[in-house]
Symmetry: C2
């Protein structure tokens, strides 16, 4: 691949990132009640005023990360929007858990901030922590870092000690499961909370980081030939559909989390595993050789998944794949990884961006036609697209020897 | 439409019903632990052993209804299968609710009957009641009728008095909603529990039946031009996506429930509403003029629904449409209703049945291609297809003046 190609990608990615940031700055801010609208139609129109907490937290994080690390986004309006989103979250997202005296984060709020729904999982809290920590870095407010670390303590308690106060009844047939999402998110949080922090904080989360990696590696199954989304606590395959489920996008995202971790610890073996297992296998399983693009869900034995959307092409697995392959190339310079990046890039940029209305479509049919035409929804906000473009721009800058 | 056409339909439907019954008799019985496997692949292979309680209850009901009302299904093996399913349900489906001392039905059990998951809704209980009542009718076991009526009391309490023991925390932003599914299911249960029963039972549920109808009629919105899936308790439109949601299959199913009810009470005005609102409007909103078939979800203002599967063609709305239009024709003899039946029939029979593996596919893409190729899954069992075929066969018999 020529330097020229890298430069071309970098230019396109940079332009796209600017345009995506503009889209959300323009359409998503609720200047009356604070926080962000995330249900934005094709042209940016708000079609629902509910505020999804995952997406509030993610938008605060993304604004702050861009502000903190990229010169051209160090803009007043971005900082102010992040701060407004942060106060909305701190004021409204936390709901006292009925029985345990612990705090839960709601999943969804009204425009004014009243809790509508609480999930019995840990993910709203994860994105709350990401937002608080990154906002603390940008503003220098130590209180926010503390807030993030306190919520993190509670999260660790739920995951490693006792999940009963999440509200799921303990049922005899409901065997404890190691779901990829949980150690992945925790590893991401460890990296968030420890980046450029003093030795004390690094030590505090060191064992947790290793534990997360071990939990993620348990998902390598079938003699190393498949990444399965759910395994038993002992790291064995689970029976039925749940056990056979593959989620290529998730595996690829875990792949680049592991790759970052392996670089930080200088662990060459983990680097190889991250690439050969968490990037190669999801491609083999998930790339649609007929229509291109990554399928959403697969059954490792070739049964039809029971998720109705299994064969759709979603934006976010493609975002994760772009980061994963470019990072893997950047760490190893193996040309076939850049080839893979190029292949995903071509599909992604020819299918997802909407030249007319701005931003990206999120949901295509198997054949690659737009199936849902909104730009933001209950699960699509200002996160996967800008994070991917930001990460790729930086990786390409490094490869090209540019300084921002 | 000629008599010959009616006869042709009747023959095809009769043959199809026989074949569908054979499929489930052959592949779905768990002769070791009792109950039914419902995750059946294209060729009938069990691909997951979980037992979904909705589908266990529905299968018991359908076996019993066929046994009780159609001469050719009055077979020992059908009765035995229904009884075995009924005992499995009675033994394992009910789980004591943690705090309230009430019984909940699980949503999903292991093959051996251990509870895996409990939903915070009323639907497992609904299908449990249908199963118990119909099994009681077939076996003459008064205890089952009692069991059904006791569970019904609890259901009514949850819906009309206090839903807190269903386990949803009360949240300030979570406004109480009239969801079509709830009064629809209750009306269906009223009809189930009172059919051919003495005056005492009929009186007991009389007010509830009228209440259900009123609740269902609240879903006629926008000056009578749309049926909306969720409305406020006061019968007003709700804000956002939830408020604008249309589910044509549900509206059509409600339509024939209302039509049955209007016939039983001799209510001509309700008959007209059932047809002109609950059958005409969902067709106008939901029929895909480009590819044929009924879309799954729509937004009344033309926004894109947020449900990823919104534009898929599912088997069950087509089943409900067939019953609705044929029943409406049979009650009114308006030829355009038979035309409508004919149109849905053509799409349904040319897309859903699998001549090779038997039974029907459940999930097609917008364009009508099979997207998920299994015959049974977590939400598709032995229910909508045989109920539709059974109802249509009887309606056609009546129209043709046949006696079974």
């Amino acid at each position: 691949m020529s330097i020229q190609k890298l430069q071309e990608w970098r230019e396109q990615i940079r332009t796209e990132l600017d345009s995506v940031v503009d889209f959300w700055l323009k359409y998503s801010h609720d200047t009356v009640h604070g926080g962000f609208f995330t249900c934005l139609g094709r042209d940016g129109t708000v079609y629902d005023e509910l505020k999804y907490v995952w997406l509030q937290g993610r938008q605060v994080w993304t604004y702050c990360r861009l502000y903190r690390t990229m010169e051209r986004f160090r803009r007043h309006e971005i900082l102010e929007a992040a701060k407004a989103g942060g106060s909305f979250l701190r004021r409204f997202a936390r709901v006292p858990s009925s029985s345990s005296g612990q705090w839960k984060c709601a999943f969804c709020l009204t425009r004014e901030g009243k809790a509508v729904k609480i999930q019995r999982t840990i993910f709203s809290e994860c994105f709350y922590i990401m937002a608080m920590d990154e906002l603390g870095r940008v503003t220098g407010d130590k209180d926010l870092q503390l807030e993030a670390e306190q919520m993190m303590e509670q999260l660790i308690f739920w995951v490693r000690e006792d999940s009963s106060s999440l509200g799921r009844p303990q049922l005899p047939g409901d065997v404890p499961t190691n779901s990829m999402a949980v150690p992945m998110m925790l590893l991401c949080l460890v990296q968030q909370l420890t980046e450029d922090r003093g030795e004390e904080v690094v030590q505090k989360y060191r064992e947790l980081g290793s534990w997360c990696v071990k939990q993620i590696l348990q998902h390598i199954q079938r003699d190393g030939t498949a990444i399965l989304e759910n395994v038993s606590i002992e790291g064995k395959e689970l029976p039925g559909c749940q056990g056979r489920l593959q989620n290529p996008g998730h595996a690829l995202e875990a792949g680049w989390f592991l790759l970052q971790f392996s670089a930080a610890r200088g662990d060459k073996e983990l680097q190889q595993t991250a690439i050969n297992k968490f990037m190669e296998l999801p491609y083999k399983a998930g790339w649609d050789t007929e229509h291109g693009g990554l399928l959403y869900f697969l059954d490792v034995d070739g049964h039809c998944p029971t998720q109705l959307e299994w064969n759709m092409k979603l934006w976010w697995p493609h975002c994760e794949a772009l980061i994963a392959y470019l990072m893997a190339y950047s760490h190893t310079k193996r040309p076939e990884l850049l080839e893979r990046f190029s292949q995903v890039y071509e599909y992604t940029f020819s299918h997802f961006p909407d030249a007319e209305g701005g931003e990206w479509f999120g949901y295509l049919s198997r054949e690659g036609k737009v199936a849902l035409d909104f730009k933001g929804g209950p699960f699509k906000g200002f996160f996967h697209v800008p994070r991917c473009l930001y990460m790729c721009e930086r990786l390409l800058d490094d490869l090209l020897g540019n300084k921002d």
